[in-house]
């Protein structure tokens, strides 16, 4: 491999997941905090003394780039990774070329082995000519497994409605878990996850009867739709695949529809539950006016792909998953950051945003999260003059939407002083979950 030129500080900072990480990393980028610093053509490594007793072992593989750190942070890359690259990029001699440290070598070796295995698999696939017969047989097997599982699930749903939702609420956790496990066996994991989540939701939500009935209706709709699989239009089939959790091969998506545009990164959200980290990157096309979402997942404790920087403009061709809007997409590998957006693209009135949400629902009955870019909204307070659960965003026309009472609400108030501001958020569960806001001509994460 050719000797890698050291990156610029800007290139390093573009990898940081948010402004807070940039600040934290800058503060950590002092040689005094580090030991065992070193680099070679493809790796940079070092140990950083953090709050734990043992220093964190930090390694960056420059070729991708890929990050590895033993700290407990869920941010990706974590501030240690960014700080290490800052030191390296600074080129003041603190990160010199050196023999690779043992922990860095071990990780690099692991990665290389993993890559070799998946490359071998890929080659095996490519070399052995696809056997159409075997493929068709596997597909038929999977479909009959799914059909049997969904037939079984229909009987379970009928029992639920016959015995009543009130009775279901008294069932133990295993009632939901068993049903979910059978759906996993039937290879419809996303549906299984929704059934499992209901076990908690019916005790958490004050509107649980409405929620359970509406969800059960949508589950049943999925069962009915599956029976017409061969007759479904491509986008409906795409939506149904998402509901069921029948994932597509990345290669299939890449060979499908592609959209090239200057994509504005208008929202970033990370969620986690005990098993999964997920990250949604909301993109808005400058020329196409399309809103797409890039999803990344990692198992808990694993590492998420590096997100694009909020507020940046990325010139890229995106491969779009079949389905109705807002569609899922993935980058095709040619993306590059070309600038910073001065604000929020495609902001609407609240009435306009709700119309768009209705169109999403009309196309896709399972539609859940609607991205909303709202123009010039203020915050209305509850009748007691306080924010919290009664707070709402209000636009110039006097229309309002209830806001989720989460930490983002308080950041929004602190940053905007009440507004009016351009705001991006996700609309679901009858609340707007604010995610980013334009302050002094810059899109800022909440």
């Amino acid at each position: 491999m050719a000797t890698t030129a050291r990156w610029t500080v800007e290139q390093v900072l573009a990898l940081a997941p948010d402004a807070g990480s940039v600040r934290a990393a800058r503060a950590l980028a002092r040689p005094g905090r580090w030991s065992d610093l070193g680099s070679n053509d493809s790796l940079v490594w070092g140990r950083c003394q953090g709050s734990a007793r043992e220093p964190y072992q930090v390694t960056v593989d420059l070729t991708e780039p890929a990050f590895r750190c033993t700290c407990p942070s869920r941010k990706f890359p974590c501030k240690h990774g960014v700080a290490l690259l800052l030191l390296w990029a600074g080129g003041n001699g603190s990160v010199a070329d050196a023999a690779v440290a043992e922990f860095a070598a071990a990780w690099s070796h692991e990665r290389a082995e993993r890559a070799a295995r998946s490359e071998a698999r890929r080659q095996a696939r490519a070399e052995s000519p696809p056997d159409p017969e075997a493929q068709a047989r596997r597909l038929a097997e999977r479909r009959s497994l799914m059909t049997a599982g969904l037939d079984d699930f229909e009987r379970w749903l009928f029992d639920l409605v016959r015995q009543g939702l009130a009775a279901a609420r008294r069932q133990p956790f295993s009632y939901w878990d068993t049903a979910a496990a059978r759906l996993v066996d039937a290879q419809v994991p996303a549906l299984a996850e929704r059934v499992r989540a209901m076990a908690g939701e019916i005790h958490r939500r004050p509107d649980w009867p409405d929620h359970l009935l509406a969800e059960a209706g949508r589950w049943y709709l999925a069962v009915r739709a599956w029976r017409q699989w061969d007759r479904l239009p491509e986008d409906v089939a795409g939506d149904l695949r998402t509901v069921l959790g029948w994932s597509r091969r990345g290669d299939d998506v890449l060979s499908g529809e592609r959209i090239a545009d200057r994509w504005h990164v208008i929202g970033l959200r990370q969620d986690e539950d005990e098993r999964l980290l997920s990250q949604r990157t909301w993109l808005r096309g400058e020329r196409t006016a399309r809103t797409l979402t890039v999803l990344d997942f990692a198992t808990a404790g694993g590492t998420l792909a590096v997100a694009q920087v909020l507020g940046s403009i990325v010139e890229a061709e995106l491969a779009v998953y079949p389905g109705s809007p807002p569609q899922r997409a993935r980058f095709t590998g040619d993306e590059r950051v070309v600038g910073n957006a001065g604000g929020l693209l495609g902001a609407h009135s609240i009435a306009g945003a709700l119309d768009a949400a209705a169109s999403c629902l009309a196309a896709n009955p399972w539609h859940y999260r609607t991205p909303m870019a709202l123009a010039q909204v203020g915050v209305a307070l509850g009748s007691n003059g306080r924010a919290g659960p009664a707070a709402a965003v209000v636009d110039a026309a006097g229309d309002g939407l209830p806001l989720a009472a989460d930490p983002a609400l308080w950041s929004l108030l602190a940053l905007s002083g009440g507004g009016p501001v351009d705001l991006f958020g996700e609309w679901y569960d009858d609340r707007l979950h604010a995610s980013s806001v334009v302050i002094e001509g810059r899109l800022v994460a909440l």
Partner: protein
């Protein structure tokens, strides 16, 4: 939507008991409902269709009359520098390994920010206010730093009510919960005592005993003679716990009527006798009258102390220290020296009195007798500095004196700081975590080069970590000072 509610109530009890009439659905949904044989399937399909209508038909809420828009007052000061903001983010992240913990440095940052008439970045206000809710000790510094926007946020979030200025707090007091009242009162009493007293009186009579106790204790900071009439009255409270708390607060007011009564009792019990008043003689009280009981003298005592001796200690501890010099004819230093040999319980009682009354002269006399970091806290800054220097200069001072010196609050001047570092380098490494924590909050950043020498001369891994953490804290404090200069 009525048909949805009908569907939900049918589904709640189950179609077994309450079938849902499909005709009802057709009225609303028309041909949108598929033809399904099973009753359960009909209800589920209907739920999917009607819920789709419900969600797609969502219309914006109209702002209700009287529903106010959030409008922050204009910023009353400029934002801090980008470097200062980065430092604050670093300190708030809690991931910084500095001696003494990040709270002390946060305090330094906030005080410097307020003194420079600047404000933290808006994006960090919520985190600062959450921090103040969790750590009441940081609240005064946070309130001073966050400015108008922070106070405004406090008015919107009940958990941040402590950040609201006095005027607005007054309006909310009557309807606040007890915990909120205690927080408001404690905060206010440090800043505007008259308002605090007025608020306390406004609901006092109707509060239950536990709440009266909590509210009374909220007065502890910033207590002054104007609180005396209320406390004297409270000695007659219905609840014993409230009476005891009032007595304890009155211990801090040597000008109170109760203190005068205690002085009368004490003078009869302690005398100097012999030629040149050579001996201190104690006479234990034989019984307590009703007035003494009312003044809060109880039978509580430490193990090994007799009941009558405990009464005596309690009386002396509540007696104004000014009484003793004229009464005994001895200055404090001599009185303490004689008591140390003749009547050790007297020394303990005087220590309690000096702490409660914050009497510097007596604190110095008592410190000469034996070290006590608590008594150091009573000293005024110049006296404390003198005391620290003496404690550090003494050749090979005993450990206790050294920790007395570390109890002197910062910031220290460069000379004292240098002395402290030199003395600390000789300290055993086991006490280093404690020492470096105290030094981090006190040393003048100009001694950083001396600390760096110390790092170079340190071989032990654990000691090295403590000294590095100290250097890191000092460099952060130097940056704070520079960014707000």
């Amino acid at each position: 939507m009525k048909v949805w509610e009908e569907l939900v109530s049918a589904a709640l009890v189950g179609t077994e008991r309450r079938p849902f009439p499909l005709e009802r659905l057709h009225e609303v949904a028309g041909e949108g409902v598929p033809d399904i044989a099973e009753a359960e399937g009909q209800v589920l399909a209907a739920a999917a269709v009607v819920d789709g209508y419900r969600r797609a038909g969502r219309v914006p809420e109209r702002r209700r009359a009287g529903q106010a828009l959030a409008v922050a007052p204009p910023h009353d000061r400029p934002p801090s520098s980008a470097t200062a903001a980065q430092l604050l983010a670093l300190l708030l992240s809690g991931m910084v390994g500095v001696a003494g913990g990040s709270d002390a440095l946060l305090q330094t940052w906030l005080v410097a920010c307020a003194a420079a008439r600047q404000r933290p970045p808006d994006g960090m206000l919520a985190r600062l206010l959450d921090l103040g809710t969790a750590s009441p000790r940081l609240r005064p510094a946070i309130v001073a730093a966050v400015g108008a926007r922070g106070a405004w946020l406090g008015s919107l979030n009940p958990q941040w009510a402590w950040a609201v200025g006095a005027g607005e707090a007054k309006a909310d007091y009557a309807t606040a919960t007890t915990a909120e009242r205690v927080a408001l009162l404690a905060d206010l009493h440090g800043r505007d005592r008259a308002v605090a007293r007025e608020l306390l009186a406004s609901t006092w009579a109707s509060e239950p005993a536990a709440d009266r106790l909590a509210l009374l204790n909220a007065l502890a900071s910033g207590l002054d003679e104007d609180d005396e009439p209320f406390l004297e009255e409270t000695l007659d409270d219905r609840a014993g716990s409230v009476r005891a708390a009032a007595a304890e607060l009155l211990d801090r007011l040597p000008g109170s009527r109760r203190a005068a009564r205690m002085a009368d009792r004490a003078r009869a019990l302690v005398r100097a006798e012999g030629r040149f008043r050579r001996h201190l003689v104690l006479q234990l009280p034989e019984a307590l009258d009703a007035s003494a009981r009312r003044d809060g003298i109880t039978d509580a005592r430490e193990k090994g102390t007799g009941l009558h001796a405990a009464w005596l200690v309690r009386i002396v501890a509540s007696t104004p220290l000014e009484v003793w010099e004229p009464h005994l004819g001895l200055p404090p230093t001599e009185a303490v020296a004689k008591a140390a040999t003749d009547a050790p319980e007297l020394v303990a009682a005087w220590e309690r009195a000096a702490l409660a009354q914050r009497n510097e002269r007596w604190a110095l006399a008592l410190l000469r007798h034996r070290p006590s970091p608590a008594l150091v806290g009573v000293l005024s800054p110049p006296a404390a500095r003198r005391y620290a220097e003496e404690a550090l200069r003494g050749s090979n001072p005993p450990e206790a004196r050294f920790f007395d010196a570390l109890a002197v609050p910062g910031p220290w001047d460069a000379a004292l700081s240098k002395l402290a570092v030199e003395r600390s380098r000789a300290a055993p490494s086991a006490s280093l975590p404690r020492i470096s924590g105290a030094l981090a909050a006190r040393l003048d950043p100009s001694v950083l080069p001396v600390v760096e020498e110390w790092i170079e001369d340190t071989a032990d891994e654990r000691a090295l970590r403590d000294v590095r953490a100290l250097a890191h804290a000092l460099s952060i404090r130097a940056t704070i000072a520079q960014e707000f200069s």
